[in-house]
Symmetry: C4
Subunit: 216 residues, 4 copies
């Protein structure tokens, strides 16, 4: 039996599609890159993942494909229509399996790549001592150290989607992971919270990059 | 008795709310950060301070909370509605106690953080010899030196709101104070003047930062 | 006999004119610079090349001039009206002669000039190991090396339009060539693909420039 | 007898006012700075100079004041209304006296200040060997060297307006002069040409600044 979108899920899909179009204007999706998803509020184990290859300036709520994040199976009706969810769907599914995220954003923002380059071969990038860290869920003071897991880029997304699990689980109060030379995955318990976390990461990355440039 | 908004104050609140939304587009308020206030023109000792946690893209004149800047008490009616003014309200109140400001803006602009980093552990940052300094109230020539007080960031805002007082009073023709790794407070005798001072600070910070990068 | 625009070509001309106006807002055409073209889908050996000296904020489908890319002759009717295609028309024509491009964009984006400066006197600039390379037509992995031919600027466009041919043909999976101190030519098999390639080049150039600045 | 605006001049004033509002959005006029003028096409020796202290987001054709550029006298009717042209009016008037400019723009763009800093104590800044130089009136090749006169900032505008004359006259094919730590004056024989020259200067300044940063 195929997936029926509930009114609740539909409202979130519209909200996320709107954010995707805004993020596209801001440069997060050069050349149709980037992918996005939601955890269903009404269908157990289901996520709605963005369709492959869509120009993000034209992205709407109709460009989501239902996928089961336990079985990793796409909804059969969408499959029979020849539709395909993002090549990086498995990363989204792993995040839903092991965190309480309800929304995942994947941006190609240059600042994430440049920020990661500051940490060379390290397994984690570190951000600390800045007021805006308090905008991360659960963080109450700027005197905190957030560790962001980093991974080498690969075309074997299925393998990568397993590799990332222990790193994500080891790192409390973090809501992102970086693929070097590729981009960043960011999540939250709602579209609004994921967007807030995106703004925090972007701001902190810019601070670290620009401070390095100043040499102070 | 609770606070009744006068027509005069209401007009200023609309004007400031409009500026808040513009500043949000310009990047001054990542992730719902930033706070704003006005001194009442009609109610003695009252300030209208922005509500805590509002997404600044949706900020309106209804998101101000009346607070007495001598007693530091919120208006009881707003309190009974469960509303709360910004966590940093005390900074605003201190500025109204010791200056002739009628409007205070708090921005998280990255350029303020980076500019402050140029001055290390100094108590004051210094800007001088630039034509745009003449846009500060009371400044008539570019051949002037403006000292901007800087403070370490803290979560003890009540204590900080006392610490800042002597530094602000010691520094004539200055309309801003920097919290390191956090942001900047900027003020003026009107919404228009505060906005003008914001534009001067932003321009001067960018000049100093970029000149340092050029190494000339 | 003079050129009659087919409905198919007209639709593409409208699409490209729209992209030109967007690129102008993004800074690709300072001071009326830049030029653009399409290969006709219906008239053999014909290309539609942008008119000389047009302010790109006002560019429309009426600002294309038909030129035969084998004979290099402008359509006689347009010639008799005193119209003139871009001074750099010959570059466009050569690209249509030796590639399968159907759309050519010429941008003056600063990032192309700065990126080229990173490679000094080399004949080719190299980009590699970045996920977004996969957005180039025919590229399936980030583990690839793309060589972009570079040429010294010259006012002898006719000669240059011959010089570029062997370099373009020697370099598979590349869709651009750089004129140092001048700008970049980018192409694709459709307006959409040329735009996608433009976004990839711009993103990759920014990455290389900013990485050099970071010194990491 | 007071100045009557001709239909011809009025059309140009509307065109320039529109450019002023666009330039304001682009950051040329922080904190009400910047000033603008036109040479009258119909009244001998008259220029229309922008009013002092106007927020440039609200600038219209009504914010011009007629001034005689030979006698340096403001139109008496405007004077009696308490209106005042820009503090820097004398610079505009000198440019009309000694060049064929019909439009003068004064921008505070940061890039002009940073570019000037690259040339230290020199009397002229130099730009050369870039394709976009051809967008300057009268320039036919990129193989050219343009010398831009530079002056120390001063509050004695009357004296400065004399000092600049020999430098402007000594430098062919140049359409700008820089006041260090202050901004740039740019001119052309029409509003359109002045705008084109502005775009060339801005682009070239950014190139030189960014090339210096890259260290190549």
């Amino acid at each position: 039996m195929s997936f029926i979108t509930s009114a609740q899920d539909h409202a979130e899909m519209k909200k996320l599609a709107n954010l995707v179009r805004i993020m596209n204007i801001q440069g997060h999706n050069p050349a149709t890159s980037g992918n996005y998803s939601l955890r269903s509020k009404t269908s157990p184990n289901m996520a709605m993942v963005s369709e492959s290859g869509i120009d993000k300036s034209k992205f709407t709520e109709d460009n989501f494909i239902p996928v089961n994040y336990q079985t990793r199976e796409m909804d059969p009706e969408y499959k029979s229509l020849g539709k395909k969810s993002s090549d990086e769907t498995d990363i989204h599914l792993s995040i839903y399996q092991i965190t309480d995220a309800n929304c995942v954003l994947h941006s190609h923002m240059l600042d994430a790549l440049l920020f990661a380059d500051l940490f060379g071969k390290e397994d984690f990038a570190i951000i600390k001592d800045l007021e805006l860290l308090k905008a991360f869920k659960g963080v109450k003071t700027h005197e905190v150290e957030i560790k962001i897991p980093m991974f080498e880029n690969t075309q074997d997304i299925r393998a990568l989607s397993e590799t990332i699990k222990p790193a994500i689980m080891s790192s409390p109060n973090n809501y992102g992971l970086i693929l070097k030379g590729h981009g960043i995955y960011i999540w939250g318990t709602s579209v609004e919270e994921a967007k807030k976390h995106l703004e925090v990461f972007e701001y902190l990355f810019k601070y670290y990059i620009n401070k390095k440039r100043l040499g102070v």
